[in-house]
């Protein structure tokens, strides 16, 4: 009935590279799952949405990309 001394619960976070690699694997797993379940037709929509999300993120982060984006649309 006593509190244990927290001696060894120090987390070692994964690096940025490891996280990105893991995200890539997750995307691959999702694609595999949708193909296996006969729902491959969802993939183009997901890819477009993801690319849009990335584009919006880039536009927010890199201000000077705005003029180029403007010409695209």
């Amino acid at each position: 009935m006593t509190t244990k001394v927290p001696v060894r619960s120090v987390f070692t976070p994964a690096s940025w590279g490891q996280r990105m690699a893991e995200r890539g694997r997750t995307a691959g797993e999702l694609a595999g799952l949708l193909i296996r379940n006969g729902r491959w037709w969802l993939l183009p929509m997901l890819i477009i949405m993801s690319l849009t999300a990335v584009l919006l993120g880039v536009v927010h982060v890199i201000e000077y990309a705005a003029p180029f984006v403007y010409t695209v649309f």
């Binding site: 009935m1 060894r8 619960s9």
Partner: protein
């Protein structure tokens, strides 16, 4: 094997650690973060579990997440597209949440917890629930029924748990697909009745006792029940599958009358027509749910031919329905996982990996005291540092006598001892206790201590040897549900006469039976109270104030004590009295 189970990102995030088949620790994140039903990754609960087991993350063999996020994402995508264009707003919201963070849960868990992706496994939502009930139960062969809102895509599942060459196995027998869900129907009607979803379901259950099931015909048009345990929701009345904030349509209000405005007053008994209608709707919902569950249990029996039943999932926290399942269902023995909601999924995921995949011995859940404890010395230091006056008792008997004396003269106090409880119920380790004999005490606890609705009942805890004097155990004679407050029991005539603070308006009570081997300090208190009053029963409610999680630490308990009308507080063997601090 050293297995860490986690649940998160819906509601009730939790962590549990199992070492060689022994449940070393289990706790919900809300107890540490102080955010009620905290759904975020349970980093603090994980840290506590590792500390309790004296392990580092590197020493953990597997971290098991309680559901499969990719399958859940697939279900959300498909159901949103099916509802197109009605669900466009929710679709946008869901995609932002999923593509922004939840889809990358695997890398986020690895980052936050410092585990490797090789350590990380994913169980299935309902399988985790099933494992949390079956593997903690004393049964070798059992039907396992899991019922909640929705998991990956199933809303209700029936499994068969059995042993094959000494190894436990869990086989899926049938499942009901989204959106046909008794849990979501209950939640939608909870919202209709003006309560918060995932939190107000208890209130609906309490409210149902004030009404009559007058709307059963209307409920038959909300959902149809098949003899095979199937349930088909009529989408005309519900919008939870495409609307982000409203789970029912105007058609439901046309059928049952206008919905209740959240926060509007509820007083019972009442002559107000609308208030009575709300109670009647709640009673109809409760009856409809019970009737459906009985049909489902019949199908579970046919599928498994087992004499025992294990229940888990949020709907298994419906203690009134559990009573009917015990009394009228086809099973001889019933066990309910005390943390039947999503928090329990963390324990189930860990147990499945430990006991089924690795064949570690199965645990027996004899106590839910699986949370953090605090050494008496640290409590004394806290009180000294705060300059709080207290009396220290070296003898437990003396402390029990003093507390019993205070309660017998109408005082209400906090009772803090040992490890905090696993699951939503306080069972004598983080409890507010009072004399159960006077309705005025109940009203005072509701009004000035818990700050909650007057119509909500309080639960009693009773000495095991006195249970028959006050309550009817019914077919639950093996008392598997009684220690964890998982089922209601009808009160005897003596209880209705003498225990007015804990007998609900329908003549039942959600009883916790305190046995000879469980919780010795609380049992001593019950005995001391019986010696003074002749009643081996106490009113027991969780030690928290309105909209707060149950207290975990002495500081939180002291905070609740100071901010409410409690008369005294015990922190382990220290007694603090309000008029002396």
């Amino acid at each position: 094997m050293k297995i860490l189970g986690i649940s998160a990102f819906f509601h009730d995030a939790a962590a549990a650690i199992v070492v060689d088949g022994v449940i070393v620790a289990a706790a919900q994140e809300e107890r540490f973060s102080r955010i009620k039903q905290d759904a975020s990754l349970p980093v603090q609960a994980v840290r506590y579990c590792l500390d309790e087991a004296e392990l580092s993350m590197a020493e953990i063999d597997y971290v098991v997440f309680y559901e499969k996020p990719l399958r859940k994402f697939e279900r959300i995508l498909v159901s949103q597209l099916r509802a197109f264009p009605r669900g466009l707003r929710q679709f946008g919201r869901a995609m932002r949440t999923w593509l922004g963070s939840r889809l990358w849960l695997k890398s986020d868990i690895c980052k936050e917890l410092g585990c490797s992706s090789q350590q990380l496994l994913f169980s299935e939502h309902h399988l985790s629930h099933a494992a949390s009930a079956y593997l903690c139960s004393p049964f070798q062969d059992a039907a396992i029924v899991t019922i909640d809102g929705v998991g990956e895509s199933a809303t209700t599942s029936v499994f068969h748990g059995f042993a094959e060459e000494g190894c436990p196995k869990i086989d899926l027998k049938l499942e009901l697909p989204y959106p046909h869900s008794i849990g979501l129907l209950y939640s939608s009607l909870t919202a209709y009745l003006g309560f918060r979803v995932n939190e107000g379901e208890y209130k609906v259950m309490g409210l149902s006792s004030y009404g009559q099931p007058k709307y059963l015909e209307e409920f038959a048009s909300l959902a149809s029940v098949g003899d095979d345990g199937s349930l088909e929701i009529n989408p005309r009345y519900f919008s939870y599958h495409y609307h982000a904030t409203k789970s029912f349509t105007p058609a439901l209000e046309a059928l049952l009358g206008p919905s209740r405005i959240p926060g509007s007053p509820l007083e019972y008994p009442s002559g107000d027509i609308d208030m009575q209608r709300y109670a009647d709707v709640a009673a109809s919902l409760q009856t409809f749910t019970e009737e459906y569950l009985l049909v489902l249990m019949g199908e579970a029996k046919r599928q498994t031919q087992s004499n025992s039943l294990c229940l888990a999932g949020g709907v298994a926290l419906n203690s009134v329905a559990n009573r009917r399942i015990c009394e009228e269902g086809p099973f001889e023995h019933v066990f309910v996982q005390p943390a039947a909601g999503d928090a329990g999924g963390a324990l189930g995921a860990a147990l499945y990996a430990s006991c089924v995949l690795h064949n570690d011995p199965r645990p027996r859940l004899s106590s839910v005291a699986l949370g953090q404890s605090f050494a008496p010395a640290s409590i004394e230091k806290f009180l000294d540092d705060c300059g709080v006056k207290y009396t220290k008792y070296s003898d437990d008997e003396e402390l029990a006598d003093e507390v019993a004396q205070r309660m017998s003269v109408g005082q209400v106090g906090g009772w803090f001892q040992g490890r905090f409880e696993w699951g939503p119920r306080a069972l004598g380790n983080r409890s507010i206790l009072a004399d159960p004999r006077y309705a005025s005490t109940r009203d005072r606890v509701n009004r000035a201590i818990k700050f909650r609705e007057k119509f909500r009942p309080f639960a009693p805890m009773v000495l095991s040897e006195d249970t028959h004097l006050w309550f009817d155990l019914g077919r639950n004679r093996d008392r598997l549900l009684a220690p964890f407050m998982c089922s209601v029991m009808p009160a005897t005539a003596a209880a209705k006469e003498k225990l007015s603070a804990v007998v609900h308006v329908d003549g039942t009570a959600r009883v916790q039976v305190v046995g000879r081997s469980s919780n010795p300090r609380t049992r001593r208190l019950l005995q001391a109270f019986k010696k003074k009053t002749g009643v081996g029963v106490l009113l027991n409610t969780s030690m928290n104030l309105k909209d707060e999680p149950i207290c975990a630490s002495p500081a939180e308990a002291y905070g609740a004590f100071v901010r409410s009308d409690m008369d005294f507080l015990t922190l382990e063997n220290c007694l603090i009295v309000k008029d002396q601090i």
